[in-house]
């Protein structure tokens, strides 16, 4: 990818695993594009490997993963390690949605997914501008 197009930050976005909930990532896509990001939108029902392939192909700066159906613990197993293996250790990894099937305290949930390699983990109904502000800060775009 050449330098001029590289100036626009690139994010890979989608809903992981067998999860069909597409509305959250669709809304985030619109907000990210409005905020000047190039979005590689994978839609819903996306295997972890497809996020990684897309991130590699697009030289993405961040991977944004959505999960609404409560099975994120299985779908996101070793996500960070898989990225590392694919040479994407430097890429920021965010996760948000309804992440667990058993109600747990939020800090516990956050810990589980941080241990799976996510840089930031968001609780249900986080506003898009909160995540976008974090992303800009993490990518040094402020």
């Amino acid at each position: 990818m050449d330098r001029s197009s590289r100036r626009q930050p690139v994010v890979v976005l989608g809903t992981i695993g067998h999860d069909a909930h597409i509305v959250g990532s669709s809304v985030l896509r619109i907000a990210l594009e409005e905020a000047g990001f190039k979005v590689v939108f994978l839609g819903a029902v996306v295997p972890a490997e497809e996020f990684i392939d897309a991130a590699r192909e697009s030289a993405a700066d961040a991977i944004l993963v959505s999960s609404l159906y409560g099975m994120a613990r299985i779908d996101c197993s070793d996500f960070g390690a898989k990225c590392e293996e694919a040479g994407l250790g430097h890429v920021k990894k965010y996760l948000g949605g309804i992440l667990v099937t058993d109600p747990e305290a939020w800090d516990q949930t956050e810990q589980i997914f941080r241990a799976q390699g996510f840089d930031r983990v968001y609780p249900p109904q986080t506003k898009t501008d909160v995540a976008i502000a974090d992303l800009k800060r993490d990518l040094g775009l402020d």
């Binding site: 069909a20 909930h21 597409i22």
Partner: protein
């Protein structure tokens, strides 16, 4: 995957021999199917059913509830382990749920039984449910019978599946008495690229099996589902539910619930429920299925639910009120946990109390007829007739064939679907009263008068708010119901 798998489809009832041929393959999908092999297995299932009391049957509960003018409540359940699932159900047993809606986990829904089995073992080891539903194939008939026997309610299964044939075999053999039809809805709601014809064919298998049990004197009920997301138009939901009814009746199913996902505009929801009831009766009679018994039901809003407990309770109460005022036989309720986790047993107990109280107070009352209700109903009927006529035309009179062509041509379409083969050209927004309107009907054959009526309703909101309808409205409406009241107050200028 391609949109069509090349399966020769027709709507007419399957020959029993064709069914049996398919069945051998279905039962070999996972070891739990092997105990159902052989000619005697269905007979054994029927015998188990015949020893059950009448109240285990959703179809018979419908009749009794109607006589008593009582509105039925159905909570939901589904965890990785049988004992977790039973514990959840026991939380509400004394509140007398009429049915339990048992959802299977997403792996089972996709026929990935090895992954489901794996997650069951992990769940057992860690004392935690790694699954978002009950893995029917993993637990087999013995597990499903334990679930059935822990409650007086009629137990049934969801069909959020691309291939639910084996889970249905197990459920029926275990004495479960009802479940959902998702020939069309499943693809729009949960699928990425499963072929349309294969999905319809899988559903026909289940319908044919259910009809066979009914022929043997076991009144199995199928629920024609158009839960669909909360932003879909009500006319579209009525079309989907009606197609499910007609496909199912063609296989010989005799007891069908007409289920509509609530959109949360009182007049429009009631109009849709009334329109579906009238159209389903009319089409069933016209196509020679006059003996099919139908009942109106709702499924609570499938969209955003608030985090704040008080707001959540308010939203549950509104959904229950709409269902009751529409004269429904019953409703599929949600839990106050909806916004944060896979719902719990305790959450559903609270939901049973919230909705039970509303229903007790509202029962017997109906939304009175009014010009607004009549207009809304007429618009929905006009839309549905046009779309169904187009589907029939595309299929040369065959609904199953026409439905496949409907997906291909954009006649069946909506927005925000994970299904890659939908055109995705339709745009729906809310009007000033919160009713759902086509901003753009895409390639769907919506009659001009309906499109103009929707446009007029949208214009009134544009005038009221001083903004133009567009993508910004759609984005904002993703949190239409769940925005916290505090945020709204913060936006006021005073």
């Amino acid at each position: 995957m391609t949109m069509l798998a090349g399966i020769p489809l027709r709507t007419a009832q399957w020959d029993w021999d064709y069914f049996l041929h398919q069945r051998r393959e279905v039962l070999s999908l996972w070891p739990s199917g092997s105990e159902l092999q052989g000619d005697d297995a269905i007979a054994a299932g029927v015998a188990y059913h015949k020893a059950q009391p009448w109240w285990k049957y959703a179809s018979l509960r419908n009749k009794r509830a109607q006589q008593e003018q009582r509105i039925q409540l159905v909570p939901q359940v589904g965890h990785a382990l049988t004992e977790q699932t039973i514990a959840h159900m026991q939380c509400s047993e004394d509140l007398g749920p009429d049915r339990w809606y048992v959802l299977t986990d997403t792996y089972t829904r996709k026929a990935e039984y090895a992954k489901a089995q794996d997650a069951v073992e992990r769940s057992r080891r860690d004392g935690f449910s790694y699954l978002n539903g009950y893995p029917l194939a993993a637990h087999g008939v013995s597990g499903a019978r334990a679930v059935n026997e822990c409650t007086r309610a009629a137990v049934g299964t969801d069909n959020n599946d691309e291939d639910a044939r084996l889970p249905w075999e197990i459920a029926l053999a275990a004495g479960w008495t009802w479940g959902t039809i998702k020939s069309i809805e499943e693809l729009i709601q949960h699928s990425r690229d499963f072929p349309v014809d294969r999905n319809i064919h899988n559903q026909q298998y289940i319908d044919r099996l259910a009809a066979h049990y009914t022929e043997q004197g076991v009144p199995i009920l199928r629920r024609a589902s158009a839960n669909l997301p909360g932003w879909d138009s009500l006319g579209f939901k009525v079309t989907v539910s009606l197609l499910e009814v007609l496909l199912s009746a063609a296989q010989g199913v005799k007891f069908i619930d007409l289920s509509i996902g609530i959109g949360m505009n009182l007049v429009q929801d009631v109009a849709a429920i009334q329109a579906l009831r009238a159209l389903a009766r009319e089409y069933l009679d016209k196509l020679g299925f006059g003996d099919v018994e139908i009942h109106s039901w709702t499924y609570f809003f499938l969209g955003d639910w608030p985090l704040q407990r008080g707001q959540m309770v308010g939203q549950l109460a509104l959904n229950a009120t709409i269902s009751a005022l529409a004269g429904c036989s019953g409703m599929y309720i949600k839990s106050p946990d909806e916004a944060t986790t896979t719902p719990t047993g305790e959450g559903f107990r609270e939901a049973m109390e919230i909705c039970g109280q509303v229903v007790r107070l509202v029962a017997g009352q109906r939304l009175p007829e009014s010009p607004e209700l009549a207009t809304e109903r007429a618009m929905i009927e006009c839309e549905v007739r046009a779309v169904v006529a187009k589907i029939m035309e595309l299929g040369n009179g065959d609904i199953a064939v026409g439905a496949c062509r409907g997906f291909e041509t954009g006649v069946i379409d909506t927005m925000f679907s994970p299904y890659r083969f939908l055109k995705g050209k339709v745009k729906v927004v809310r009007d000033a009263n919160g009713a759902l309107r086509y901003l753009d009907p895409g390639l769907t054959p919506i009659p001009r008068e309906v499109a103009e009526y929707h446009r007029e309703c949208i214009s009134r909101r544009e005038a009221k708010e001083g903004t133009q309808a567009g993508v910004r409205w759609i984005v904002r409406e993703a949190t239409w119901a769940s925005r916290s009241l505090r945020d709204e107050v913060a936006e006021r200028s005073y």
